[in-house]
Symmetry: C3
């Protein structure tokens, strides 16, 4: 075994194990500017002189830090839950991330297992104290190193995770509030209706350099995203790139957003490849008042990203279609690459 | 009609109407660095510690702000005139843009019309007062929403715009003056001759990610530049990208330039696509003294960008060729993608 | 001869001639962030709040400055030697570069000649005094302008250059020292053995926009890297891009590195093209104590970058293979694009 780190295998994890993730990162102003160049993000607070860090920048930088620990040997990223941002983060802050193993289950194939981790990202402004910036659960299927069964085959531990983040847990970033003149639209919380569909109309082509630059920017070193030769010319686009593109497209129709406050659940339904064009539509699932902010309101949004199909141009498009194999059940339309359930905060 | 903004149509405009364009932008140092990465720009004042913002960065950021208001439904960008930079802009400044409708003319097809707008971009340094940074006219052919004729079919209003910017109006950025040791060449105003042609010899390939990153960086969200799927794999390159590439190439032979001071007129003669390689040559149209700056002089330059043809390698190349359809008249050589008429300032 | 600079030819150089290279550059924080986006570099000191400039950023910015002077008419970049970094460089510093011609030899073909130059890059912090940041020798084969022989055909002058940088000359950047928690691995100088091979396992696809953005970022204007049309769609990847990618990949297994301290020699054995995927492996050639730093040690490393072959997956891979044309002699494996001999500093 040489020194070049090949990542942890299922056998390397144990319940309650804690990891400090390598390579602390400064959330610099330039990081935010590079994010704009790669996504076209327009939400005013993240491109004006506020000094606010885009919550997605914090997310990707923190997520990137965990890759070396948890997912270099991933078979599949199965999901995340209870993703919560804990208030404003300011440019120049240092970010570091820790994770704890909270669940383990070996698969019956004995070649892989599922690892559940709880993640915490801390930030500190220059000279300041650390505080929590982001917390989330994630579960990943990871290769086993060998054939010998582990105790998690017979006695798996599966953690209880929140099905959704409660409204009371949301911490809106009031500092991101801007006027309609600055955002370009007047829609407020009162204007949205449960069941409403918002087509965003825009489009974003995925170029090889775009998705790799994004993934490198956040120091996510999972080889699957970069090894064109080893993957017959088709390196897999990092799912987080799709998240950010879809969210950037969803500026249209949610111009007054203060920024994503929580993710309830997310499914990367299909892979995305360079050469695809992404589109997005948003569905309002739920509206909630915020007890700690009378002038703001929360929207629970279902954000659907499709590839090579613009939902706004297909009148009858629905993300959920009848499953021919399971009568009476639905499945996601095969153009869907992302199905994200999240909480957004907007002014009333 | 959903909330996802689909842009203004011809019927949405009225004479004298004023728009404050959405999404104010900080002109950060990182924006300038990203500009260098995407263009290779070498003019010293915009990559040293001066804090000066490249005038093209101001231009594209302001132009990008107007897109949501004026050109999401553009059939064609017909031209611009009287583009004037109003002195130095400093990194860290906030930029916002307004425009006023000054002309309207419905086309006889009744499916589109021409909108003339006068644009003003303001900058403010942190804590400072706003001042004008850039003003320009632009006219765009915009789709109509419906078939009913407007009053601008029978009674069009076409504004008078300046055929060129007067020398007296130029506001040279003295702060950008550097020594020949720093610029790499000694050419001054006295060395240039009217009629002179300058081949720049360099070349710049246009890659998909280059032009889209550039366009996203400046938050220009016109779908035509990003919708690879919807445009059969050929999203249109933003004309501003070609402007910046040609100007960056024109450093060769104009190394002592203080920066573009005004644009008299510009024609995007042909579309540019990813896969093209751009070349540039410059022609000195006119020389003028500057009454407010005895040690500086103005050059009126015709900057020609060609694709897939290096003018320096074709001895007999001229941008204007005989038009076979119109004896005695010329048209632009079909390799020409940009024909720009602008004022540059250089030391004497 | 027009004003567009076409570069110096062999006849333009004379022994002892000194050039101040054009376009001083600020080593901004954004430059470092762009470097991360283009390479995925993870060494903590260059992405945290230290303000340290990545030594490769200094290298490429300085090298880029010399291109206009020395290598626009290069037939081939033959090599470099004695590359030494002279201690920490801080973000915000201004960089400028000079070079001196120290050797000249016209080739017997009379169409080209070799120019040896000694290069020095200086940095100055804002308001501070200049100090040397980087020094190196380089030799380049340059086209002749004409056919007339020069005195360097009959009387060539070939300088003596160091075969390697001496350990005593290394100036470790102690400020880059981080804990294993931050770097992700505990390997120190004592853990490395002469002869050891480190497979880095990662991969990096080379996309057109990646290598051109990198080359533009550092204002290297050699046309060969950008002229897709003129080179039948195959612009040559800047060798420095390969250096940086290979070094970024070599983070795996050398996580505690303080940063490259010197280059003894380097060979770009084969060209790299967009579409290639790069891999890297490192060999420990030599270990040395540092008299000026008892808690640090130096490793002499041979860094091999391959294209489209992952050395870690080929058990019997060796960079040196038997040369079928020269029995008993070896040559580099034809997948090798870079063979770099350098000094790294790590904690004991």
């Amino acid at each position: 075994m040489g020194k070049g780190f090949q990542g942890n295998y299922f056998e390397d994890f144990s319940l309650g194990q804690r990891f400090a993730c390598a390579v602390p990162r400064q959330l610099s102003p330039a990081l935010g500017e590079a994010y704009v160049a790669l996504t076209g993000e327009r939400t005013p607070a993240w491109c004006d002189a506020s000094g606010l860090v885009n919550p997605w920048v914090t997310f990707h930088a923190a997520f990137g830090q965990t890759v070396r620990t948890i997912s270099l040997n991933a078979v599949a990223n199965l999901g995340y839950a209870g993703v919560r941002w804990h208030g404003p983060v300011w440019a120049g802050s240092m970010l570091r991330t820790e994770l704890e193993v909270v669940g383990l289950k070996e698969n019956s194939s004995r070649t892989s297992g599922v690892v559940w981790v709880q993640n915490t990202a801390w930030v500190a402004e220059p000279g300041g104290a650390e505080r929590v910036a982001l917390t989330w659960w994630r579960w990943v299927m990871v290769h086993k190193r060998g054939e010998a069964p582990t105790r998690w085959l017979e006695a798996p531990v599966v953690p209880t995770m929140p099905a959704s983040v409660q409204v009371e847990e949301l911490l809106p970033v009031r500092e991101a509030l801007r006027s309609p003149v600055e955002t370009g639209a007047a829609w407020g919380w009162n204007d949205y209706a449960v069941g409403e569909r918002i087509d965003t109309w825009d489009a974003m082509a995925v170029n090889p350099s775009d998705h790799m630059s994004f993934t490198r920017l956040f120091q996510n070193s999972a080889k699957v995203h970069f090894d064109a030769h080893g993957r017959d010319g088709k390196p897999l686009v990092y799912g987080g790139f799709v998240l950010s593109q879809a969210y950037a497209l969803a500026f249209n129709g949610m111009e007054n957003r203060l920024g994503i406050a929580a993710i309830n659940a997310g499914t990367h339904a299909n892979p995305t490849w360079a050469g695809d064009t992404l589109y997005a539509s948003a569905y309002i699932l739920e509206k909630a008042e915020l007890s700690n902010a009378q002038d703001l309101g929360a929207l629970r949004v279902r954000l659907i990203a499709t590839r090579n199909l613009s939902p706004g141009l297909v009148a009858e498009f629905t993300p959920d279609v009848e499953d021919p194999k399971k009568p009476g059940r639905t499945k996601l339309h095969n153009s869907v690459v992302l199905d994200l359930d999240y909480w957004e905060v907007v002014p009333r």
